[in-house]
Symmetry: D3
Subunit: 245 residues, 6 copies
């Protein structure tokens, strides 16, 4: 099967990290294609960034739908920006790494915490957990106070900050599993798991396993109402690739 992993920001180094993590976790027969859009911000750390990034994501997906036979898509930004819109565009499963990490954790622990980047994403993540309807299982959301770029430029400092906040989440907030709240942390789960003694979920690999499973079961996105294909309508000022046919 073919799974396309889309890093919605334009930070190529992060796309490579995501790709490596995904490939390592995939079954041998799963083909992983990782891309990032040509346009958009280098990192996604606020609502504004997310909206800009998503235009490029749509473009990538629309092109992909025309040119490739993809079995499932993974949206690899911990914030799942625009996930529902992608579900409208195709009946192939589209998995967000945030939702995948949350639901995966629920099979391993009664409560999870998310450890993320800068403080301003805490409220948006809390809204995301509520939108997914799984807020009851959330122990806390903690910030390392490091930006995506700071994180990428000093991995060791990043891992250290993750360990510090993760420990507090376990000891003070009642977390029994931890979620890596940024795709730039892809691949750090094992090391942290060993250090803290609780399951640590990397959304990229969690999403990959969910995607493989859904493809195996031939399950598709429900098109009965909310995620039905968008209606054809006049769209001005956009490349024709954005039209609905």
């Amino acid at each position: 099967m073919k799974i396309k992993v889309i890093n919605p920001n334009t930070f190529v180094l992060m796309t490579e990290g995501i790709a490596e993590s995904a490939r390592r976790a995939a079954r041998p027969e799963t083909e992983i294609i990782t891309v990032n859009p040509q346009k958009g911000p280098i990192s996604i750390e606020c609502f504004y960034d997310g909206h800009l990034a998503f235009v490029g994501v749509i473009e990538e997906v629309k092109k992909s739908l025309k040119e490739e036979e993809i079995d499932a898509y993974i949206l690899a930004c911990y914030g799942d920006p625009g996930l529902e819109a992608l579900r409208e565009l195709t009946d192939k499963p589209v998995i967000g790494i945030a939702e995948a990490s949350m639901f995966t954790a629920c099979f391993l622990a009664p409560k999870f915490s998310i450890i993320t980047v800068i403080p301003r994403v805490i409220v948006p993540l809390e809204q995301l957990v509520k939108k997914y309807g799984i807020y009851e299982r959330l122990a806390s959301i903690r910030s390392t106070r490091l930006s995506v770029v700071e994180f990428a430029s000093d991995l060791e400092a990043g891992k250290e900050a993750l360990a510090v906040e993760g420990k507090l989440a376990v000891e003070q907030d009642g977390a029994e599993a931890l979620l890596l709240g940024c795709s730039g942390m892809a691949g750090f789960d094992e090391e942290l798991e060993e250090k803290l003694g609780v399951p640590v979920i990397d959304g990229v690999t969690a999403a990959l396993k969910i995607a493989e499973g859904l493809v195996d079961l031939k399950k598709k996105t429900s098109k009965i109402n909310t995620y039905a294909k968008p209606d054809q309508k006049l769209i001005e000022g956009f490349d024709p690739i954005f039209n609905i046919e």
Copy 2:
């Protein structure tokens, strides 16, 4: 004071209806400027539409921030697409017509229902009410089964459908106020109010009054964390207007 009302779709007829409604409700000394983006879909009826539309909205707001002295912005699509991102861009109040209609209704009735366009927007609206944290006051969301364009092309049929669903909301769902769930319905509140005997809230005029009040009180959007100005960062493939300075 100057209030800018942005219709995020490219349907000029609807922009005019919104403008008329806003102007009628504004105080004499309030200057209303109504625009719609040059690019984007003609109506917003799914997540996909909303994301495309929002790019043009950002462009309008960024230009406006450069060129005008605006006291408050109103986002005139009942779905408030991208509202938080606009709040990041400016400390001037930015009001969504959906949120304005909901909180306004709360001063007049214990429970409200939203009457909206096609069925596929029901789940997104329910998510919106939950995001605003006011779900406890929601009696129901009902669909007229008419699209935005169908609505605009036969106003009488639209009003009739609104009356039918509004009546059901009051009699069966426990609604004691009704919210017009599309900016294409701007101006229909009085007629419906008379027919059904309950307050009917038009989000455009509700938002206008909230905006005027906040400007009077000199209140600004909180920039302490979630809605702080986006960080400057590399944004590729977008017009320079999209950069953060």
Copy 3:
């Protein structure tokens, strides 16, 4: 338009503070009439106080309905005691300063905290936030440990205590806006706003703006069910003014 502001306690000094605050915030053409009942407790700091105070409030409103043409009423005690009963008595908008402050904050920040007087009002305020259905937006309720009278007798100490608790609300509880949890704090918002760097909402002025807006829009309280006029019935031992005609 004429707006009547009712301070439900008998503390004349507080009534004057409320009046001043309201007048400063009102539009030039809005006439503000501020009163307090002749009977009842000098401050409202528990359920018992609230119930006693409300009898005098009803009397004032019943008299007003007979004698004046008022466009909207404001109940100026942060606890909104008896608000629903007033809504039953008239179809003119009746706005509580607590509800006004909460919903107003929602346009400016994702989460708010209330800073209030003595600890025993925390649970009642929490119940109020839940009754209004907006608990999801509440970051915390904090007490200054000062009574209403202590507050009035040493304003500087009061402001200092507000600043201390407000800072903790922002830094520890995730508040991005603050609400002044007592009408005795009317007028302190600007100073506190400057000190803490987040919007601070004074319920009196917030209610005033909501009231002006609703009067502009000609919106009235829903009389369809819950807030319908009370049925005429035998009421013993009360002044005839309390009868329903």
Copy 4:
């Protein structure tokens, strides 16, 4: 032990029905004293009625605290108007018949419905269930569309209406126990139970049993914070009995 049952309205016939029901359910050694205030409305069917009624209730309780040795108080109006204020006045248990019926039902069935009088009390009852924090166990609230007085003037019609709505609650709403939502229905539980085959809870007798049990256990109302005795303060225009000593 001595238990005082207070019917907060001035409808003497209803007071007698309550007294009879309470006496029949009490243990032989429990002394039941039933009163209603001298002043206030003949029935409580809206917020306004409740507020007026409560003044007389306070007067009765304040006098009782001076003159009698009472072990527990029962507030016999299904709406528990002013219950918290009474808890402030004494450390003797004060039980509301609404809360008693709800928590009692929870020992017998997973979900309950309340069958009440006129439709306008549905929202207030829903708010009450939420305030008590037991909303998750509520199947529905149904109205017989009969007023308190209509009920009292034709008991058979009342019982019939109760049976009709109770049956619908069981068959359509998932109720497995029913609560009599008005103290004017005191004593109807057995007949209805037989007819419908589910437990039917009469709040008066439920409250009585809770009160007896708490007195046996020597449990008192918590005075640590929320229900502490009201502070002494200037109260104008009220009989001295209303002062706090």
Copy 5:
């Protein structure tokens, strides 16, 4: 009346403590029969223990239903393991000490905390409070970090730990009543109440009072659906006492 109290573990010393506590609280005419199963774990401190213990509980109840005339059953483990299954087996009231303590506290205080044994039972207790639908009234669950056996072997240390955590619950978490979260703490309520100045609820005596009250009122478990008698069916490998007749 005859009430059977079942300690589901096999710790005879604890059964005796429970019996003593129950007898002291019962009315003179109430006959208390206390038992523990012959098989099962000596204490219940995790899901596994609870499931093993419950087999013996069923056996005791099935035998009792054959051989005795019991008016109500009390399940005396703070976790109410298997409570619903017992309700299926008989229409006599079956009361869990956890649920009894929670609902009893609600008549005395706005919020309660549970003080329990080891940390691993916190999540299960939280789930229990949510299942009972009364989570809104929970201030916190605190652990003494002592096991059931440690508690029994050094009562003074146990009481000390209870006092420490109880104090924190009141001062930091907003509890206004405390619940003893283990039947091994039966009888400690008075001493703790005196020390901390808030109501302390012992689930055993709370359940006893609820049971006596329900028997007085002749109320039975609802058999209409969820708690109906189990269907007869083939059960292999169990003593015939486990069959449904």
Copy 6:
């Protein structure tokens, strides 16, 4: 990898159906071992059945832990009876088919309904959905009114009833995915999917995919607190296999 699927009832025919379904969905290299306990009820349709069944389940798992190298366990009864206790016994992933179906549906649709057997399991299933913290995504639970055995004895009637209730769930309740609420329905998903046009989730195959994914990722159950290994303690009257070593 080796996955053990445990049907907790003693209905061998159902075990075979489950086995077939699981094998068909497994990857070629996954070894599926399906068992049912030797003791217990032939079907699980109430709390009582579930408790009896679980003793045999524990026995199977304890033996398995001694004798086999299993990578993950699946508990194949839609009610997940005793799931947490199994998680205490091993750090290998243990997946319930109910939880697996619910979380899997969340990747495909905004809201799901469960179609189940007899009405008495509706409340227990609702409690389960709430325990898993995913109640916000539940559209409804519907009963076919067929028992497990009736279902097994007339598959066509069962499928027909599923289709009828599934259709109502989609059309009236807002479900956009359906969950097969009994392991006796294993394998019916494809046919129903085709008929109704929405994703239909079979918990057995959903759990299998989750299990395979977790084993791939080497994720284990969190042992930090709630699911830690049970403490060793005296267990009387049980086969030694039940002891904790």
